[in-house]
């Protein structure tokens, strides 16, 4: 092989090797970090699309409405637990240790990110209530469709 071709071969093959390594690593990292979204009902009975149930210990996101009267606080610390419900039969308890967002209220749709602890409870490391009252995450809106009677006070005031 003449030197020029040799050089080209070297460059091309190293490029291909580097590229496939990069893609492999990226996909691996992606696979580790995709958090599926569940509604309370889907946690108990499996996802609507695939029927798959989440495994205990799996990282996931859950969205639903905070059940009125379900918020319980530990008087000594910031530990708090509350139940999330949806428009089907689901009801899942979320445990959280930290500061709840400003817009967290009973009767409000929220999203939590965490790990499934038992069949119907989640240890959350993040609780999100979006910063705009009118805005509801689309997934949550879907899970709550038809639950108009549970409107929050502020919404009723409008």
């Amino acid at each position: 092989m003449n030197p020029r071709r040799k050089k080209r071969l070297l460059i091309t093959s190293s490029l291909i090797a580097g590229l496939s390594l990069a893609i492999g690593l990226t996909l691996y990292a992606l696979q580790q970090n995709i958090d599926l979204f569940y509604t309370p009902n889907e946690i108990l009975n499996g996802k609507n699309e695939t029927g798959e149930k989440p495994e205990i210990g799996q990282r996931l996101r859950i969205g639903g409405m905070v059940l009125n009267g379900s918020v319980q606080r530990n008087p000594e610390s910031l530990k708090v637990s509350f139940d999330l419900i949806d428009n089907k039969a689901g009801q899942v308890t979320v445990y959280f240790d930290g500061i709840l967002p400003d817009l967290f209220r009973e009767g409000q749709g929220i999203v939590a990110q965490g790990v499934l602890k038992s069949e119907n409870s989640i240890e959350a490391f993040e609780v999100l209530a979006k910063h705009d009252e009118e805005y509801m995450p689309p997934e949550v809106a879907e899970a709550l469709k038809g639950m108009e009677h549970l409107k929050t006070e502020s919404e009723l005031a409008k």
Partner: protein
């Protein structure tokens, strides 16, 4: 009456932009001089028309004209005047008006400041800018008219601006960011014009370089401002969330950074030309994609997209047209572009190629992480989210080769570098950077982690390499003191840009590894101690603002028994939208920030409080400022000034010096 005039001048600007697109191109095709010359005049007229329209909207905000629907939903008479003014770009319609206004601002800048360029080229560039303006004018006028009236039943007062946006950050963040986004349209227009002409030479790269740099500077500052704003306003002390909206601004930045590097190669060495063109097209296309993602509503909510499909579809159509059209043109014309220069594997060209490859890899990572959830949802696999760890891990991996090569890269010569010559400088840099890392961590790190060592080392590797390179370059022919004065602006620009990155890397490393975050329950009179700091919760007072009420928690902070600050963390309730907001108290410092945010009041009267200690977090925003300053220096380089006498000689001499000294 005024809003109607504003609407009318907006339509006028739209028509003018259409003429600005058609007439000059016709002139260039037929050689009609008058038509070619008209490009400048039409651009100026278009700018005046849209500026007038923008001014009217701003004025209507100031005088609280709630007969305009957009103002009624996004302003309130209780807001102070400066927030009423910045509310102009507080929501969809107004920010698009700002977008077209800035676009015409860039167009007029090109029209007025490129007297040195051949008049046909200017005409082509302005025509392309006209096309972009025309598309956006149509979008504003047809789907998002900011002047729409609520007559005859208009409200007596407005519904207030989203409290998150009532902040100094919002006054300047969006205009800066948009200046950056829109600024890439100039590089885009230059690239399209060059493709139309079928002539891509070093002159082309030289013309578009300062424009690209200007846009990049704005975008850099805009992103940094956004990050700073999120840090103090969102109330949980993060500085980057890998949120799709943030990613939308980060992607053009990555492409733009690759572009300014590859433009340098195209200008100086005449290689990478077609690649540079492709980058110029991508940078602006990604800006458009960002606008589409943010403005169409697909990101925030799929339902918003469905409820007003015209907006989303319009931008999507425009996006496809611009990206598709430019790529098609590229496919047809790029083969005509020949890169003349040759270079060896070990050369500065290769180093810059690696820079570009890594930046594009980073871009693909962000693109993938941003779009995958959308695709996943659309093909019916259910909604997913891609966690921060994905981005963090990928960027931790990518930054290692990026910084290592960056440090070495500027020591390489153009064309060909004897690797043996680099042994001595490299070992010197290695030793010095290891020593600095050890010293730095010894002073500032409470304990060690692998990532902290790695990050600090990478930062110092760059700093030492940059300083050493300046030293080498200045002592090349003269004594250091004389040689260092002779370094050109471009050289300082490069050094500052790289130093800025080093500062960012060190800031991120320290913040991510050594932050202390305490979420605790505190009653008035309680205190908490960590890291030599003692936070005492003194009292809670009521708060009365112009359009909000609330409470303020007052904390005394002592460091080793000495009082260093009294911090006031606010909890506001904006009365119109009944929306609670957290205003964090921050005691800023160059090596650390103290951060207090009030959570909710618990049933027993105590408060949930967030207390953070964030070492070196200021460096994360200091770095971009250094980078931006470097960019400004580069634009002030003699060769880009429009002096006639410089035009012929300077590039040659600077080029030669640059090549030989490199």
């Amino acid at each position: 009456m005024l809003p109607e005039i504003g609407q009318f001048t907006l339509i006028l600007a739209c028509v003018l932009s259409f003429l600005q697109m058609v007439y000059p191109l016709y002139g260039v095709q037929t050689g009609h001089q008058g038509a070619i010359r008209s490009a400048r005049i039409l651009t100026i007229l278009q700018f005046i028309a849209v500026a007038f329209s923008f001014a009217i909207l701003a004025y209507s905000f100031l005088i609280n004209d709630f007969t305009i629907g957009y103002i009624a939903t996004n302003s309130n008479s209780a807001m102070p005047w400066y927030f009423r003014l910045s509310a102009v770009w507080g929501a969809h319609e107004g920010s698009l008006l700002l977008w077209v206004f800035l676009l015409s601002g860039w167009s007029i800048a090109v029209a007025l400041m490129s007297k040195r360029l051949p008049i046909e080229s200017v005409a082509r560039v302005l025509a392309v800018l006209g096309l972009l303006s025309f598309g956006f004018y149509l979008f504003v006028i047809l789907t998002s008219n900011p002047f729409e009236r609520t007559l005859p039943y208009f409200p007596i007062d407005g519904r207030d601006l989203n409290p998150l946006l009532q902040d100094f950050g919002l006054v300047i963040h969006p205009p800066m960011l948009y200046m950056g986004y829109v600024g890439f349209s100039v590089a885009f227009a230059f690239a399209i014009a060059a493709l139309l002409e079928g002539r891509l030479d070093s002159a082309w790269a030289k013309w578009s370089r300062p424009w690209t740099m200007a846009a990049w500077v704005f975008l850099t500052v805009g992103i940094a401002l956004g990050s700073w704003w999120a840090y103090y306003e969102l109330g949980w002390g993060g500085w980057w969330f890998w949120d799709p909206v943030e990613n939308a601004s980060f992607m053009p930045w990555l492409a733009g950074t690759a572009l300014i590097h590859s433009l340098a190669v195209s200008e100086k060495r005449g290689v990478f030309k077609s690649w540079t063109v492709l980058l110029a097209l991508s940078a602006f296309s990604l800006s458009l994609l960002g606008t589409f993602l943010v403005r169409s509503g697909v990101l925030v909510s799929v339902h918003a997209f469905a409820s007003d499909p015209t907006r989303g579809l319009f931008i999507l159509g425009f996006l496809v047209l611009v990206i598709g059209g430019s790529l098609l043109l590229y496919a047809i014309q790029a083969s005509k572009v020949k890169s003349r220069g040759r270079y060896e594997l070990a050369s500065r060209e290769s180093m810059l190629l690696i820079n570009n490859i890594l930046l594009i890899a980073a871009l693909i990572v962000v693109l993938l992480g941003t779009l995958l959830p959308l695709v996943h949802k659309e093909i019916g696999l259910g909604s997913i989210s891609i966690g921060e760890p994905f981005f963090n891990r990928m960027f931790t991996i990518l930054i290692v080769p990026f910084s290592l090569f960056l440090g070495v890269g500027s020591l390489f010569r153009w064309k060909r570098q004897q690797l043996n010559d680099l042994k001595k400088p490299l070992s010197l840099i290695l030793i010095l950077s290891v020593l600095s890392t050890i010293a730095f961590l010894f002073v500032f790190a409470p304990f060690l982690t692998w990532l902290a060592v790695l990050g600090t080392f990478l930062g110092f590797w760059i700093i030492v390499a940059v300083v050493y390179e300046i030293y080498l370059r200045s002592t090349h022919r003269h004594a250091f003191s004389k040689g260092v004065m002779k370094l050109g602006n471009s050289h300082w620009a490069m050094s500052l840009g790289h130093l800025g990155l080093a500062v960012i890397i060190i800031g991120i490393t320290m913040t991510q590894n050594f932050s202390i975050e305490k979420d605790i329950k505190l009653a008035v009179g309680d205190h908490i101690t960590f890291e030599h700091y003692d936070f005492h919760f003194d009292q809670v007072k009521p708060l009365n603002g112009p359009n909000y009420t609330g409470t303020v928690g007052i904390f005394t902070v002592k460091q080793d028994q000495k009082q260093i600050a009294v911090m006031k963390a606010e909890k506001r309730l904006y009365t119109v939208q009944r929306m609670p907001m957290t205003e964090a108290a921050i005691d800023a410092g160059i090596t650390r920030d103290l951060y207090i945010a009030m959570g909710e009041q618990l049933p027993d009267g105590a408060w949930a409080v967030r207390i953070y200690y964030k070492p070196f977090i200021r460096w994360i925003w200091l770095g971009p400022l250094i980078m931006a300053f470097g960019g400004i220096l580069m634009m002030c380089d003699r060769r880009y000034r429009s002096k006639k006498e410089n035009a012929d000689q300077d590039p040659m001499t600077t080029d030669k010096e640059g090549t030989e000294n490199a």
